[in-house]
């Protein structure tokens, strides 16, 4: 019964926080979905890889933080350094992804595979998973709130389960992204998607560098 209450709380927290997660993942997810071929199934696959890896990112961070008790007491300066590094890495991956999309799709955009990053077989990873994993490290307030609550639970297993239910709650809000599969794909759409990804990558790069320098990325 207690478990039902706790995990119900996690699900509710996820549902309530979902719009924020959707908004924060949007800049990464929307242009990368637009580089894929049309079709619900293809987009479902992409989204699943993205969200699955995002969950892994959550869980990996949560487990480490729970064990060392660091999540609740993490100093703002340390958090900022971590966020800065993640943003710079995310920017680099986005730029590489935008470049890779050109190579894969060429002029006919006919590849059925998820866009891969890396050139050799043994180092291929699904681009969606990499982006999802890095986005999972974003330490957005809903994630921190879930982490604080999870840290109050009795064991790391309970904390991880709490996160999983929280994650399921947030993921409901990602279902509409599958609708992007309806948008017709042609060279223009692909080019716009790659350009958008590049612009967003530049923003994240600036944001990341500013955070690494210990500065706020806002002029006011």
């Amino acid at each position: 019964m207690v478990a039902v209450v706790i995990f119900g709380e996690a699900l509710t927290l996820g549902l309530v926080s979902g719009p924020a997660c959707m908004a924060s993942c949007g800049p990464v997810l929307v242009p990368s979905l637009l580089t894929e071929q049309t079709g619900f199934r293809r987009h479902l696959r992409f989204l699943s890889a993205f969200l699955g890896a995002r969950l892994l990112g959550y869980l990996a961070f949560a487990a480490a933080a729970w064990e060392i008790g660091a999540l609740v007491s993490m100093r703002p300066a340390s958090r900022m350094l971590l966020m800065g590094a993640v943003n710079v890495l995310l920017a680099c991956v986005l730029l590489w992804y935008a470049y890779s999309a050109r190579q894969i799709c060429g002029s006919s955009c006919s590849s059925a595979k998820l866009v891969n990053i890396g050139t050799t077989k043994d180092r291929r990873v699904a681009g969606a998973a990499v982006l999802g994993f890095l986005t999972g490290f974003s330490l957005c307030p809903p994630f921190v709130a879930a982490g604080v609550r999870a840290a109050e639970l009795g064991s790391v297993t309970q904390a991880l389960l709490f996160f999983i239910f929280f994650f399921v709650g947030t993921s409901v809000w990602f279902v509409p992204f599958i609708g992007i599969g309806c948008i017709a794909r042609n060279q223009a759409v692909l080019t716009v998607a790659r350009m958008t990804m590049t612009l967003i990558a530049l923003y994240y790069l600036f944001l990341g560098i500013a955070m690494l320098m210990g500065r706020k990325a806002y002029g006011f």
Binding site: P19, A23, S24, G26, P27, V30, P31, A188, T191, V192, A193, M195, T196, T198, L199, I200, Y203, A210, R215, K216, A217, Y218, G219, F220
Partner: protein, 386 residues
């Protein structure tokens, strides 16, 4: 298909008579007096002179459009005047009100940041999801309040569609003026993929505005902050933001138009222009290419300041979605193949009627909106000269 020998010329072979042109101009003259001298406008001598000059200017340009049968050259005179005089009046009012072009935090808290149309596409998604406007203005409390400006934008868009970019936008005239300066373009070959950048900027800014809950374009990328107002820099990042605005303005609005003779900021960057393009789908007026007359010479394509014609679109008899209805291609076409058109009617059937109907609507808007801005700019100049 009618042979070229017996296809009648569509545009007047000789200019309209002065009397006929005057008669056609009369409604615009009356409208100009109504718009610029209505009760509530200032009655001091300088204001009256500014209003009178503006009314004469706008009426005179319309007269020339009627007399010569050409549109682009005369419209451009208005648009360049608007582009250069808007910052004059705007900056003067800002400095008068708060002593600086910079927007201090107090003004944002007080909700007195003048609302700019460029922010509209950025506000839609956050407002739809949270009923919150991520702009430091006020809904209804001031002259530049959000509701007033959105109401104005809606009305102008209903009438003009993407023609906003040729008859209303108070920023485009600067680069149109710059593009008119050189006799020949130094850069003539432009990759058509650059036309897609405004859509990418629009998508990126909409997504970032939702993620960050702020008008991202206004905070990071608007070139026209350099000639209107900007958030006062209070730290190094603020200085970087302002530097970005200045570099973008110098590059996209001054240098590139001089080199290409194109409206480069509008064609290759402006997300609001991409947004307005969507409204061309519902706009009843458009420009078409009459395939029975077109010889695929490409003159229209070169003449277009916005790269809104491509070989493929010409082959289909159409302009691209980004067409601003400025009239450059229509005036340039040696075969009268580029024509004004009302959707649903036959192409090249009484195009002059379509042109007149469009110009009456568009010029009425131009006088109402742009005319008042020009008058304000002239008043500011007179104020400093006197």
């Amino acid at each position: 298909m009618a042979s070229k020998a017996c296809t009648p010329r569509l545009a007047p072979a000789t200019p309209r008579s002065v009397l006929r042109a005057l008669l056609l101009t009369l409604p615009i003259a009356v409208w100009s007096l109504l718009m610029l001298f209505h009760p509530g406008t200032p009655t001091d001598a300088k204001s009256r002179i500014a209003e009178a000059v503006t009314a004469l200017f706008m009426t005179g340009l319309f007269f020339m459009m009627m007399r010569t049968g050409k549109t682009y050259r005369w419209r451009r005179c208005f648009f360049v005047a608007l582009g250069f005089l808007f910052p004059v009046g705007f900056i003067y009012n800002m400095v008068l009100a708060r002593g600086t072009m910079g927007i201090p935090i107090e003004e944002m808290i007080a909700g007195r940041t003048p609302f700019c149309f460029l922010a509209i596409p950025l506000l839609i998604v956050p407002a739809a999801l949270t009923k919150t406007l991520v702009f430091p203005g006020s809904i209804a409390a001031s002259r530049h309040a959000i509701a007033t400006m959105v109401g104005l934008w809606l009305a102008l868009t209903l009438v003009l569609g993407k023609g906003w970019c040729a008859y209303a936008c108070f920023f485009g005239g600067i680069e149109e003026g710059m593009a008119a300066v050189p006799k020949r373009a130094k850069i003539r070959k432009i990759d058509p993929r650059w036309r897609l950048v405004p859509w990418a900027v629009l998508l990126a800014m909409v997504l970032l505005s939702l993620a960050l809950f702020e008008p991202a374009y206004c905070m990071w990328l608007c070139p026209f902050k350099a000639v209107t107002e900007y958030v006062t820099a209070r730290n190094a990042v603020g200085v970087v933001q302002n530097a970005i605005f200045i570099v973008l303005f110098a590059g996209l609005v001054i240098v590139l138009p001089l080199l290409t003779k194109k409206r480069t900021q509008c064609s290759f960057f402006c997300p609001f222009g991409a947004f307005q393009s969507i409204f061309n789908k519902i706009s009843i007026f458009e420009v078409k290419i009459d395939r029975t007359r077109c010889k695929s010479c490409g003159v229209c394509q070169n003449a277009c300041p916005n790269l809104s014609l491509s070989k493929e679109s010409i082959a289909q008899g159409e302009t691209l979605l980004s067409c601003m209805k400025c009239g450059a291609c229509v005036d340039a076409c040696p075969q009268d193949a580029a024509v004004w058109h009302i959707k649903g009617t036959e192409i090249a059937w009484k195009p002059e009627r379509a042109r007149l109907m469009f110009l009456y609507a568009a010029w009425a808007m131009a006088v109402m909106f742009g005319g008042s801005i020009i008058a304000q700019g002239l008043f500011t100049i007179l104020h400093f000269l006197a």
